[in-house]
C-alpha cells in the first residue's frame, strides 16, 4: 500500500513538472533496471543543490560527452565534493572506474521511482 501511495504521489509530482521521465537503454544497471524500463527522477532547477547520498540512483551527464545522459548509482563522495558513480552490473558498464569521480554539476536528478516490467523467464 505504501508503495502504491508513493507511486501515486510521484505521478502527481511528475504531472506538476517536478519529476522527469526517462527510459533506460543498456545493461549496466541490471538487475535493478532493464533496457526499456522507465524511471522518474527529480528535476533540478538551475543553481539548486541536489541532496545526494551514497547508494542513490541518479541521472547525470556523461563526463566525456555531456550530450549523453547516463543512469548510475552513487558510490561515495570525494574530498573535492565530486561523486563516484558505479554500475549495478559492472561487467556491462563503464563508470567512475574509467572516468574517475564526476562533478556534482553533472548530476541532474535523483531517481525517485523505478518502474520495472514484470520479471519472468521469457522477459
Amino acid at each position: 500500500m505504501k508503495a502504491v501511495l508513493h507511486a501515486v504521489s510521484e505521478f502527481v509530482l511528475w504531472a506538476m513538472g517536478r519529476r522527469s521521465r526517462y527510459r533506460v537503454t543498456g545493461h549496466s544497471m541490471e538487475p535493478t533496471l532493464y533496457p526499456g524500463e522507465f524511471v522518474l527522477a527529480t528535476s533540478r532547477s538551475p543553481g539548486e543543490v541536489l541532496e545526494i547520498n551514497s547508494g542513490d540512483l541518479v541521472v547525470g551527464r556523461h563526463p566525456a560527452d555531456q550530450q549523453i545522459l547516463i543512469i548510475k548509482r552513487i558510490g561515495r563522495r570525494t574530498a573535492e565534493g565530486s561523486f563516484t558513480l558505479a554500475s549495478d552490473n559492472p561487467a556491462q558498464g563503464t563508470d567512475s572506474r574509467q572516468w574517475g569521480a564526476v562533478k556534482r554539476d553533472l548530476i541532474l536528478g535523483r531517481v525517485t521511482l523505478v518502474l520495472n516490467r514484470p520479471r519472468g523467464p521469457y522477459r
Partner: protein
C-alpha cells in the same frame, strides 16, 4: 508497479521520454577495425577447417556442427564490430572524404551473411578484403598509416 509501467509505455508511444544510458559502449573513444578483422579471420579459418573435415572419421558429425556454429557466431561478431565502427565511430564529416562509406559498410555486412550461408574460402576472403578497405578508410580519418596485418596470413 506493472500497471504504471504499462501506462508509461503507452505514454512513451505518444511522446518519447529522453533515454538514459546504462551502456557498456559509453564514449570511451577506443575504436579499431582489428576487432572485425580478427573475427573475420576466424570465419575464414573455420571455413577452411570445415572443408578439410574427414567425414568418415569418428565424431566427424559433431566436429562439423561445432565448426559451423563457430563460423556463424564469428560472422555475427564481425557484423557487430562493423556496426560499432559504422554508427559509433564514423561521423557525417567523414562522408566528405569517403562518400562511398555507407555502401562499403552495407556490402561488408552483406558479405558477413554470404560467409555464413556458404562454406566458401572465396566468400570469407572477400569479407576480409572488405574489412581491409574499412581499415584503410578508418586510419585515413585519423591521418595515420597503419599496416594491414593478419594474425593468420
Amino acid at each position: 508497479m506493472t500497471l504504471s509501467a504499462r501506462l508509461l509505455e503507452l505514454l512513451d508511444a505518444h511522446k518519447h521520454a529522453p533515454t538514459v544510458s546504462a551502456h557498456c559502449d559509453g564514449p570511451c573513444g577506443v575504436y579499431d577495425p582489428a576487432s572485425a578483422r580478427i573475427a573475420a579471420e576466424a570465419v575464414l579459418s573455420m571455413a577452411k577447417k570445415i572443408l578439410a573435415i574427414d567425414t568418415s572419421a569418428d565424431g566427424a558429425y559433431n566436429t562439423y556442427i561445432r565448426y559451423v556454429a563457430i563460423k556463424e557466431s564469428e560472422a555475427d561478431e564481425v557484423k557487430r564490430q562493423l556496426d560499432i565502427l559504422w554508427h559509433d565511430y564514423f561521423k557525417p564529416e567523414h562522408l566528405e572524404a569517403h562518400p562511398d562509406l555507407h555502401n562499403i559498410f552495407w556490402q561488408a555486412a552483406k558479405q558477413c551473411s554470404a560467409a555464413k550461408v556458404s562454406v566458401s574460402v572465396e566468400a570469407c576472403t572477400d569479407l576480409l578484403n572488405r574489412i581491409e578497405e574499412i581499415h584503410n578508410m578508418f586510419w585515413s580519418t585519423k591521418g595515420r598509416e597503419v599496416p594491414w596485418v593478419l594474425a593468420n596470413p
